[in-house]
């Protein structure tokens, strides 16, 4: 890159970087893949709702990271003299029935929500991809067995199934994550299988087969990259449902246990004060709503960017 030693490095470097990212001739694998990312980012940038969602989620991540700065006293600092205070300069979102600052709990609770969402995604994406691509690629009895197991999981409403698992495993965040993952993988597997079926007979798969590649290599290196975009989109869209299910489990007392500031549990705690202190339930409710909506809108935007047919 030119201009790195220039005194106004940043000024001259930006166009140089852009030229490097839009170069007709790519000189290294890194440049080729970064160029791909850059063009995707440019497409995403043209989508205002997706960008708004991205900003909202970035704020959420920032709040979660900066929770110790926003609320250095922690989420469990009680002040029984200042119970149920309405929103004010001192307590932006008011206090709850034990005098805890709701903003502090909301900020610390963002960590829990994000942890649940990322862990579920990290569990569900590989399982769904593995099961779906294997079923689609091998077909026959492998497909039949995997998809009937899938049907068993799909046939229950996810919250009911999660409730059942948590009831069996015992309440708590860890078990909530396991339960939500168990209910969230079947749609991903279905999607991956459908994508696999459309490409398994493509010539480029035949070409790698007659190079002598093993089935695991074909699936991992040739089929999964084709399924990945739609799986990423689907998981982002499902994130809203995952967060709602986590909040629902918290609300029912089966997810995070007190005093953890999980948003669903906070909502549940505010239920008894709905008429007298609306902010107890309205604030975590709004946080759940905004986060779910942001994930949904971002998923929509990503679908436009990642759709392989758009190239």
């Amino acid at each position: 890159m030119s201009g790195e030693t220039h005194p106004l490095g940043n000024v001259t470097r930006a166009p140089g970087l852009r030229a490097w990212l839009t170069a007709e001739v790519t000189a290294s694998p890194r440049q080729a893949s970064l160029q791909r990312l850059y063009y995707g980012w440019r497409r995403l940038r043209n989508n205002p709702t997706a960008m708004a969602a991205l900003v909202a989620l970035a704020c959420l991540v920032a709040v979660a990271i900066l929770a110790p700065l926003i609320a250095p006293e922690g989420y469990d600092e009680q002040n029984l003299a200042g119970r149920l205070l309405p929103p004010s300069g001192a307590h932006w979102f008011g206090t709850d029935d034990l005098g805890r600052d709701i903003l502090a709990r909301l900020a610390w609770g963002a960590r829990i929500t994000l942890m649940i969402a990322t862990l579920v995604a990290a569990i569900v994406a590989p399982i769904g991809l593995l099961v779906g691509t294997a079923a689609g690629y091998f077909g026959g009895w492998v497909d039949a067995v995997l998809m009937r197991v899938n049907d068993v999981f799909l046939s229950f409403p996810s919250l009911i199934l999660a409730l059942g698992f948590v009831a069996a495993l015992g309440p708590g965040i860890r078990n909530a994550i396991i339960a939500i993952s168990l209910t969230a993988w079947p749609p991903i597997a279905r999607l991956a299988r459908a994508e696999t079926l459309t490409i398994r007979n493509a010539d480029y798969i035949a070409a790698v087969r007659i190079q002598g590649a093993s089935a695991s290599r074909i699936i991992a290196r040739h089929i999964v990259p084709m399924c990945l975009p739609s799986v990423i989109v689907r998981i982002t869209l499902n994130m809203a449902g995952i967060i709602l299910t986590a909040a629902g489990l918290g609300f029912l007392g089966l997810g995070a246990q007190p005093p953890m500031p999980e948003w669903g549990a906070m909502l549940s705690a505010g239920r008894g004060h709905l008429t007298g202190a609306w902010w107890l339930s309205a604030v975590p409710g709004a946080a759940i709503l905004i986060t779910s909506l942001a994930f949904n809108l971002l998923g929509d935007g990503l679908r436009d960017v990642l759709d392989p047919r758009s190239e």
Binding site: D203, A207, V208, G212, M226
Partner: protein, 253 residues
Amino acid sequence: MIAVRDLRVSFAAATVVDGVSFHVPPEEMFGLVGESGCGKSTVLRVLCGLNPAWSGQIVIGGKAMSPVRDRAFFKDVQMVFQDPYGSLHPRHTVNTALTEPLAIHGIGGADGRVAAVLDQVGLGGAFRYRYPHQLSGGQRQRLAIARALILEPKVLLLDEPTSALDVSVQAEILNLLTDLRRQRNLTCILVSHDLAVIAHMCDRIGVMQHGRIVEELTADQLNENAARHPYTIELLAASRGYDRALGERLADE
């Protein structure tokens, strides 16, 4: 080099290849010509191991073939597909497409081999990190040929390698194939519905109709109009361009 005897392939109820026999000596190019659906592409897919449901006898390089091939087989026999828009992985760069066969067979020195084969098919190093959607149809087919050749096979199967391309690009690809075949002493089978392409490229030609080879003749015989089978004569007439009288006569039949 390649001997096929009484090859039969059936899909469900339909018999697609119905007793095909032919023989290709080393370093010869054998052409299979016929209308679409006559089973010529199926013969190629059986030969390269993509279609395991067949009966008959296939001998390649002195070895009798079973329906399932081992990895060493694919090092010797490679295929170029008809549609360069469908035969290249859309998310793999030129470099990835070419290093993949080397990685599968555990062949070292990938960097030099990729550069050399790109050079041979007339794609410079500038194309190395491009994605297929950044290439034209002809460039894609060159890449597909490079991918088939990087394992240095002895047999190259060509399934209508030019039918998806412009006429001007077709000639370039055909010339490239002629050159490469000579340089590398390849034994080839070329499948096409275009008799002109076949006559230009091949030493001997098998004319296929309804899953059978109805006539086999040399390129010279073809050029001297020595074809005897009525279907071959019909194909020859059709390849000379559109002829109203012929069209009407065929429509009447």
